[in-house]
């Protein structure tokens, strides 16, 4: 299945596009422009096909691993080599960008990786080694293989100085939204477990906020904030204005609330009442019960809420640029405005990467914080 997709990628669709400059549409080139590297890609796709028909599960898994990670590395080198050969004797403004074929090839590779994944639950070492090798090969392609000549890399060179500050702005914005969401969300969730009225109000209101489109919420916040900062100069002095970081940060905090409040509430209220009764009966005070029993048991679910919130916030943070914040969203929307695909990618790919990293890291944290006795 994955190999089929990969095959479609290398045969039907254009592999690379050569363009006169970074904005105009280009001319499509097939993978054979990469010369000998193309044969390696073909070979690995063939291994991918074999991985479906080989005799034992172990061999199949090995074949799909080899072709999956191998394809990542080989594609990087093939793209680099083709870029070099295309750019020989061309104008400096010339750009070579990745064609749809490369993306489809990589999607096929991901599918190969996924389908092998279930049989490949080996040791940590066995799982990490191919990943490290593939990353190393891609990095090497940047240094020696000509991959640094593709247009995305060129775009990055041009934007390098602002890129890092925008990335920093992105992390700061989503991080502070998450922090504020925790600061308010956990106590609210706790309060909701102690009081029925509070529960329906808090869960209802955060639920409605969650349904409101993020851009609309941002818009709804800007006008009142602008009025507020005009009316109260102190607020303006500390940076609360209609335009800038304040509306974005408030919107992100509000969005973070629902997952955090709900999971705190559910986590705390799912603690077995018999456990609470036993704790009280043994003479624990309500604080001791909360810290030593209820929170430890609810913690995995709370972290799960934080994970949901962080993935959400990393995406929505891009929209806060409309209210004057500066982060990776600037690259995306500038790119959309200029019809510059490479600029869009330069903004969107790191955003996706951040979201996936946050997801993986917080899932791992959640597992680590799950007390051993209640681990499934």
């Amino acid at each position: 299945m994955g190999a089929l997709v990969a095959l479609a990628g290398v045969t039907v669709l254009p592999f690379l596009e050569l363009r006169a400059n970074r904005l105009v549409p280009g001319v499509a080139y097939p993978m054979m422009a990469a010369g000998s590297w193309a044969y390696l890609v073909w070979l690995l796709v063939a291994v991918g096909f074999l991985s479906a028909v080989l005799p034992t599960a172990k061999v199949r898994a090995a074949a799909s691993t080899a072709s999956g990670y191998g394809l990542i590395a080989a594609t990087a080198w093939a793209v680099g080599a083709a870029t070099r050969s295309l750019l020989v004797s061309q104008q400096p403004a010339m750009r070579v960008s990745l064609g749809a074929g490369v993306w489809v090839l990589l999607a096929g590779t991901a599918i190969l990786g996924f389908s092998g994944g279930e049989e490949r639950a080996g040791t940590l070492l066995r799982r990490t080694v191919p990943i490290v090798l593939a990353v190393a090969a891609v990095a090497a392609a940047f240094v020696w293989g000509g991959l640094d000549r593709i247009s995305l890399a060129r775009e990055f060179e041009v934007r390098a100085s602002s890129f890092w500050s925008l990335l920093g702005g992105h992390l700061a914005m989503s991080g502070s939204g998450l922090g504020l969401g925790l600061l308010f969300g956990v106590p609210l969730g706790l309060w909701a477990t102690r009081n029925r009225g509070v529960r329906s109000v808090v869960l209802g209101v955060t639920g409605v906020i969650q349904t409101v489109p993020s851009l609309a919420l941002l818009g709804l916040l800007i006008a009142p904030l602008a009025a507020l900062s005009r009316a109260v100069p102190v607020l303006r002095a500390i940076g609360v204005q209609g335009i800038g970081n304040a509306p974005g940060l408030i919107a992100l905090t509000l969005y973070a609330l629902l997952p955090i409040v709900r999971n705190t509430y559910v986590g705390l209220s799912e603690v077995d009442p018999a456990v609470i009764d036993a704790g009280r009966g043994m003479g624990m005070s309500s604080w001791q019960l909360l810290w030593r029993v209820e929170f430890p048991l609810a913690l995995p679910l709370i972290v799960e809420g934080v994970r949901t919130a962080s993935v959400l916030l990393i995406g929505i943070a891009t929209l806060t640029v409309f209210a004057g914040a500066r982060n990776l969203g600037n690259l995306i929307f500038e790119g959309l405005g200029q019809f510059a695909p490479d600029l869009i990618l330069l903004g969107a790919l790191p955003v996706i990467a951040l979201a996936v990293i946050a997801d993986v890291a917080l899932s791992a944290l959640g597992r680590a914080l799950t007390p051993e006795g209640v681990r499934a």
Partner: protein
């Protein structure tokens, strides 16, 4: 040790416990029993102030419990509940040490206490110390629950249907072990159950409740022999005679048996057995081998050749067993008497059907004279 004076608890216009007074002496097991909704659990939970009385006074030792902080009170009262309420995120040792930790014990002392208590409740400390609650069977978890309640050596134990969720076979075993532990530790115990057999088996005093009112408060023997009213009479059930057997230990009614040595010569054998028809055949060290019918004994044969061999474990009882166990064993084997042995199969005595009958009919004349209407 524990005194309730005119204690009442109301919920709205419903009275759960109605001016209840009772006194439990130090080292006594007081079983609160009655149909569901009779107020027995409410009474128990008022003693550790998980429920506050509407009016009345409760004294533990000579202190009015309302005059001391609830948490301090509870740390001095062991508490065991039906659903056990072990903390799922803590291992067995940490569960047992909840109260010692609240009291600030030293690590070394806690570790020693854990091993001591696990051994006491019949669990191997090395095997169980670091297990988690979900790895325990129902019976094991309840033993840990009892160990946890005993951790800080409280003088009083409050037990709310502690064996209610355990299967019947394990329940009997747990009851027997509880009786053994109690003989050893002499705690003052308030024990709530709805199982009249359990009450009669374990109680020094039984408090029978109905609709929040105390119906009768006396020893199990008195309750069986002289039910205070029709409600108690019906609640105790028609098999009072059988229940009485639960209260009597084999050791209390056994008599010395007729024995012959396995290699005794035939003449002395005839003499020894002259008074009774059946004789037990033992080895010189007292271990039981079998029995023989002296009338069918042919001249000149030695006992070892004429006796019927016995599976001693199957066909004998221990001094600590109840008369009911002895009776059911006799009925099962079709014997009119049964041997009493120690754990090394050494013959200690025998219990006859006649002796069992005597105990069963002991109080019957009183019962038949009881008024059939309950005095209010």
């Amino acid at each position: 040790m524990i005194r309730l004076e005119d204690v009442t608890r109301r919920y709205g216009d419903k009275t759960a416990v109605d001016s209840l007074s009772l006194e439990v002496a130090e080292g006594e097991v007081c079983v609160l029993i009655g149909p569901s909704g009779c107020g027995k659990t409410t009474t128990l939970r008022m003693i550790n102030r998980l429920i506050e009385p509407t009016s009345g006074h409760i004294f533990v030792g000579d202190r009015d419990i309302l005059s001391m902080p609830a948490e301090e009170l509870r740390r001095g009262l062991g508490y065991v509940i039906q659903s056990i309420g072990l903390f799922p995120h803590l291992d067995v040792a940490a569960n047992i040490c909840v109260v010692p930790r609240l009291l600030g014990w030293e690590k070394q002392r806690m570790a020693e206490r854990v091993d001591e208590l696990l051994a006491l409740v019949g669990l191997d400390p090395a095997a169980y110390r670091h297990k988690y609650p979900r790895q325990l069977s129902g019976g094991e978890a309840q033993r840990v629950g009892v160990a946890r309640a005993l951790a800080a050596d409280p003088p009083v134990l409050l037990m709310d249907e502690p064996f209610g969720a355990v299967d019947p076979l394990n329940r009997e075993r747990l009851q027997a072990e509880f009786a053994r532990i109690q003989r050893e530790l002499k705690k003052t115990v308030i024990f709530v159950t709805h199982d009249i057999d359990e009450a009669i088996r374990l109680a020094d005093k039984v408090a029978i409740m109905r609709d929040g009112k105390l119906q009768q408060f006396n020893t199990p023997e008195e309750v069986l022999n002289h039910p205070a009213n029709k409600f108690v009479h019906d609640f105790v059930g028609a098999d009072r005679a059988l229940k009485r057997l639960v209260r009597v230990r084999v050791a209390d009614v056994m008599r010395s048996p007729v024995t012959v040595l396995a290699d005794a010569d035939p003449i002395s054998l005839q003499e020894a057995a002259g008074r009774r028809r059946f004789a037990y055949v033992v080895q010189p060290d007292g271990r039981l081998l079998g029995w023989l019918d002296t009338r069918s004994l042919a001249e000149g044969t030695r006992p070892a050749a004429a006796m019927t061999q016995m599976d001693v474990a199957e066909a004998s009882v221990r001094p600590d067993d109840s008369l009911r166990d002895a009776l059911s064993r006799m009925l099962g084997l079709g014997f009119r008497s049964i041997a009493v042995t120690d754990k090394n199969d050494v013959l200690l005595g025998e219990v006859t059907f006649a002796a069992v009958e005597d105990v069963m009919t002991e109080g019957d004349e009183h019962v038949s004279n009881q008024p059939t209407e309950a005095p209010e």
